[in-house]
């Protein structure tokens, strides 16, 4: 037996009969190093030596496996600079032509290991395809990710960064459960109006600048620069009284705001 995980199960006794556990071994389980026949000749190791390993289990002729291999080929390229040991593992029962076709189609560069007797499969309890397994530098199981149509590589990349300590738990969670990617909203629209008003101010279109500043303030009352802009636009129109009030509102939010202080000073003249 090549994978210690399976032994651990056998030892656990509880689950004795015919290793009846579909559940994957828990994270942290040591995966044992093995050397397997490499597709195309020679042998190769399942795990890296002191590096993180990414193992891609696939089945030739299966759509999801093909899709996953294509995604992993891209992923492999993107992560080329990372110290990662990539391998693909295929059942010993797969035919050479079928494997060859998938390797060619996907363009993966990683070695394909042939799992004669499906011992690695048994050890990691891989019962379907495709699955990506990630181990840490010591060869301990870190992640088990079955097929995902969306974001498969992102997920793999995030696990890798997490294992390498470059990404914290919160960071990993943000990739596994990304918050909505949206745009707009009141704050953004306030910013746009502020920019529009500032551009108007630059060319001395004071009324337009004041209107835009007013819109910005209505959407985001705490936008200091919008109060400053309003002050400047009003001052430009000679309305120093209301301009001072606007500068004061800016200073109430940011008491050392240089532009507001300057604006007030200029108005006092």
């Amino acid at each position: 037996m090549v994978v210690r995980a399976l032994r651990a199960v056998a030892v656990a006794g509880l689950l004795a009969i015919a290793g009846n556990a579909g559940a994957q071994p828990p994270p942290g389980t040591q995966v044992e190093q093995v050397t397997l026949a490499r597709f195309g000749g020679g042998t190769a190791r399942l795990l890296g030596e002191g590096t993180v390993s990414i193992i891609v289990f696939f089945r030739p002729g299966q759509d999801h496996s093909r899709d996953a291999l294509r995604m992993m080929a891209q992923c492999e390229k993107e992560l080329a600079h990372e110290p990662v040991h990539w391998t693909a593992v295929v059942s010993g029962s797969a035919s050479a032509e079928a494997i060859s076709a998938e390797v060619k189609d996907s363009g993966i560069a990683m070695p394909v290991l042939i799992d004669k007797g499906d011992l690695v499969y048994a050890g990691l309890r891989v019962i379907l395809h495709p699955v990506v397994v990630i181990t840490d530098k010591q060869g301990r199981l870190a992640a088990y990710e079955p097929y995902q149509r969306i974001n498969y590589c992102n997920v793999v990349r995030a696990h890798l960064a997490h294992v390498l300590g470059e990404l914290g738990d919160a960071g990993l969670d943000a990739v596994l459960h990304p918050p909505p990617s949206t745009q707009g909203g009141d704050l953004a629209v306030a910013q746009r109006n502020l920019r529009l008003g500032q551009k108007h101010l630059e060319v001395k279109r004071y009324p337009q600048a004041a209107t835009a500043a007013g819109k910005a303030i209505a959407l985001d009352g705490k936008l200091v620069d919008a109060h400053v802009l309003l002050g400047q636009a009003l001052a430009g129109q000679g309305d120093c009284k209301r301009a001072r009030a606007a500068f004061d509102r800016a200073l109430a939010l940011d008491k050392s705001n240089a532009a507001a202080l300057q604006g007030k000073q200029d108005c006092a003249k």
């Binding site: 689950l15 009969i17 015919a18 009846n20 556990a21 579909g22 559940a23 994957q24 071994p25 828990p26 994270p27 089945r59 030739p60 002729g61 299966q62 759509d63 999801h64 899709d67 059942s91 029962s93 797969a94 079928a98 499906d118 499969y121 048994a122 309890r125 891989v126 019962i127 379907l128 395809h129 199981l141 992640a143 088990y144 990710e145 079955p146 097929y147 995902q148 149509r149 969306i150 974001n151 992102n154 596994l176 459960h177 990304p178 918050p179 909505p180 990617s181 949206t182 745009q183 953004a188 910013q191 746009r192 920019r195 529009l196 551009k199 108007h200 279109r205 337009q208 209107t211 835009a212």
Partner: protein, 373 residues
């Protein structure tokens, strides 16, 4: 629901599967590595259009200010008469643009520059030219769009147009014609420019009572389902509803990416169950005797084979399994429909160390025991 939020990481899977299960490793020993290339396929990624026409740079007329008619949206700088923010020359005679379009837009919309730099998935159309979609002056459409969204998006994504036009099973999600319900047309953190993972998007609409399909059948409230049924199927827990459903419409029952029988009984053909076998291995149902391919066996008698693999009235997977989530191990159903009166019979499934049993309300106890010789 909370403790199930983690994706299909080992601990989650362990949780979902924290029940014994056969070492099905040999399931993979697939002799039939035959390709199903010839079988009719739904719209798999392989068929995603690769040939998108060159980005449109609209011909004269399309991007200018509207001539007549009431605009639905109007751009503030245009409304202010500030042609000079974008054009050389004056308002009466605006000339060439001051600089490349996107640079102009970023002057006031800097968050878009940031978005197109920082978010990992960027829309080529937006990175190239905002005016591929927006009229910088005014428009008959919301958000200054140069046309309604479906026309706009499918003007480049022509294969999507074909799909939408030819889908026999349509999806209500598209009824409003807003691609932007699910896609961010600018940039996003999720592949395919999705605003969030498919799951989160699906749940938004599919979490209310009273949603009905085209024939009036009530659809599941997924929030209720997932909250009350802790055993989630791994791809559901992995937030990947689109591993099984094609969101834009398709030709299979229930928008499934591959065929799956629609009824309780069905003749067995691996192709009928292509959906399940896109991930699972059909030999779990094809092999009469096994001690490895499935945990659902009595001794070596494969009970999946026995129940499902029949030339006429084979039971479909739904006779025993929930495909999304259930209360019982292996997503076994709580009850099954009986007769045409809408009665439900409890299955009373119990998992045992070497097998399990079920006891339908009016049918004797049935047991299976893997250790039987």
């Amino acid at each position: 629901m909370k403790n199930q939020r983690i994706s299909t990481s080992p601990n989650m899977t362990a949780l979902a599967l924290s029940f014994l299960l056969l070492s099905c490793a040999a399931m993979l020993v697939s002799d039939e590595a035959q390709s199903r290339e010839d079988s009719p396929k739904a719209f798999s990624r392989a068929e995603t259009p690769k040939s998108i026409p060159d980005l449109i740079t609209y011909k004269a007329g399309v991007l200018g200010p509207m001539h007549g008619g009431e605009p639905v949206s109007e751009h503030s700088p245009f409304a202010d008469g500030a042609c000079d923010f974008c054009h050389k020359g004056d308002a009466k005679n605006p000339g060439a643009l001051l600089k490349p379009v996107n640079q102009i837009c970023f002057d006031c919309h800097s968050e878009f520059e940031e978005m197109l730099t920082k978010r990992p998935v960027k829309h080529a159309a937006a990175a190239k030219q905002c005016t591929n979609c927006h009229n910088p002056h005014n428009s008959r459409n919301q958000h200054l769009l140069i046309s309604d969204q479906v026309t706009l998006c499918t003007s480049c994504h022509t294969a999507m147009k074909t799909l939408l036009d030819t889908a026999t099973v349509k999806h209500g999600a598209l009824a409003e014609g807003k691609c932007s319900t699910c896609h961010n047309p600018h940039a996003s953190a999720v592949e395919k420019l999705l605003i969030q993972l498919p799951f989160d998007l699906c749940i938004k609409c599919h979490s209310r009572d009273g949603l009905q399909d085209a024939s009036g059948t009530r659809l599941t409230n997924f929030k209720t389902l997932l909250d009350n049924n802790p055993v989630w199927h791994a791809p559901v827990a992995g937030k990947d509803c689109s591993a099984c459903h094609t969101p834009h419409g398709g030709k299979n029952f229930r928008l499934l990416v591959e065929p799956y029988p629609a009824k309780f009984y069905s003749a067995y053909e691996p192709d009928n169950y292509a959906l399940c076998f896109t991930c699972h291995n059909s030999n779990m149902v094809d092999t009469p005797d096994t001690t490895t391919l499935t945990g659902f066996r009595d001794g070596s008698r494969n009970l999946h084979y026995l129940h499902v693999n029949k030339p006429d009235r084979g039971r479909t997977c739904r006779a025993c399994h929930e495909v999304h989530a259930s209360k019982h191990p292996f997503q076994i159903r709580d009850s099954v429909p009986f007769g045409d009166k809408g009665w439900m019979l409890k299955l009373n499934y119990t998992k045992k160390a070497n097998g399990g049993s079920c006891e339908k309300t009016c049918h004797s106890l049935k047991e299976y025991d893997r250790s039987k010789k």
